[in-house]
Amino acid sequence: MNNPLVREIIVQLAGFGIFFWVLKAFAWKPILKLLEDRRARIEKGFQDIESGKKEAEGLKADYHAKIAKIEEEARFKIQEAVQEGKKIAQEIREKAREEANDILVKAKQNIELEAAKAQVDLKRKIVDLALSAAGHVLKRDLNEKRQREIVEEYISELSEGASK
């Protein structure tokens, strides 16, 4: 202890101890806080970037989902329109067919009517022809009304016979 060098070392160690203790008590915390703040700031920066990235990815996924949904809807609407078109075409076709049938039926009826008319005309002409022929053959003067009845009777028989 009497050695001046040892005493100097002791004094120096004690002084440094006090210096260290004071620094630890008063400067250590602010320095640590500074470092911690810096670390936290950097960490937050990275977290912000990460969350921004995630948000962007979420938005991208949303966007893709929405586009897919819109595309699906568009496809569905197109299909619907196609179905609708097909339905309308079918209806138009059926209506046309019905109209054609109606026209056909009417035409048939007209034809039948015309045929009936023609038959009646024909009958009248045949009767006339027959009467004139019969008048020539029989040289008999019959009452015209009676003659007509007889011929018509005859023709009816003929037509019945023909239909049998």
Partner: protein, 297 residues
């Protein structure tokens, strides 16, 4: 960038220490012997006990101890360089994007030094941050080493501070030639003559500039050495006084805070002046305002 800064740090530290070897070798021998004699006579000395002079006190004739004692300042300068290299390696080894611990501390230091250099030179010249930053950390730790028991401030020796100033001088001249080109560098030294008066004044301007350039390392190193040596002597004297009291009292402890402040301020001043010397050597058209501001100081 970080890795490059680290390499520059190591290179610089060893370069500085190497130059210290050279200059110490020239004038240390006689001084060391004289110092030892004075130490023996005075008892309580102007130097604090450190690991090497304690060893020398107990084993004065051991060749290794004698060698260490002779190269004491260089040993501590190398120890500081090794400490910095080691801690930087530790900090960089488990580097993560979110820094913590030592990495966080060194990143903050690097960031502050980068802002310091950018603040003076502008963002274009941030490539000087590794040099100035390494200088700052190296000098600050060397200055502060005097406060830590069993260590010594190598910067309390002119043999250490002069090589530091010399390396700044060489780096500044090299930067001038690299950035300006050799002829523009000469033009700068000749005071950039553009008219008859300028040309007439070339010999005077050249002389002034050359002397000015050579004075810079001297002023840098003398300032650093003087301040740190003075601070160490102050602490040593008070340690001596405290140890001679009947009960040893560490009356020197308030000066340890002063030493902490001086260590920081002197390292800052050294780096500030280095940055300004670089700024003075850089092309004028880039950062004309900064240049003028520097001149006006």
């Amino acid at each position: 960038m970080k890795f490059r800064a680290f390499l520059v740090q190591i290179f610089y530290s060893f370069f500085g220490a190497g130059l210290a070897f050279a200059s110490e070798a020239a004038g240390h021998g006689a001084a060391a012997h004289g110092e030892a004699a004075a130490h023996a006579e005075e008892g309580a000395s102007m130097h604090l006990p450190n690991v090497i002079n304690i060893l020398y006190h107990y084993f004065p004739h051991q060749p290794v101890v004698e060698f260490l004692h002779e190269w004491e300042n260089v040993f501590f300068a190398l120890a500081v360089a090794a400490f910095l290299a080691w801690t930087f390696t530790l900090a960089a080894r488990r580097a993560s994007l979110v820094p913590s611990g030592l990495q966080n501390l060194y990143e903050m230091a690097a960031e502050s030094l980068d802002n310091f250099v950018i603040g003076i030179l502008g963002p274009r010249w941030r490539k000087f941050t590794p040099f100035v930053g390494s200088l700052f950390l190296y000098i600050f730790i060397m200055n502060f080493a005097g406060v830590v028991p069993f260590l010594k401030s190598p910067t309390s020796s002119f043999g250490i501070t002069f090589p530091l100033g010399l390396s700044v001088f060489l780096y500044v001249q090299f930067t001038g030639i690299r950035e300006l080109g050799f002829f523009k560098y000469l033009d700068h030294l000749a005071g950039e003559p553009r008219n008859a008066v300028g040309f007439i004044l070339i010999p005077l301007m050249l002389f002034l500039h050359v002397v000015g350039e050579f004075v810079k390392p001297l002023s840098l190193s003398l300032r650093l050495f003087g301040n740190i040596w003075g601070e160490d002597v102050l602490i040593a004297v008070f340690v001596g006084m405290g140890s001679q009291m009947p009960l040893p009292i560490p009356i020197h402890f308030p000066f340890l805070f002063l030493a902490l402040l001086t260590s920081f301020v002197q390292a800052t001043v050294f780096c500030l002046l280095t940055t300004i010397y670089i700024a003075l050597m850089l092309p004028h058209e880039h950062g004309e305002e900064g240049h003028e501001a520097v001149h006006s100081h």
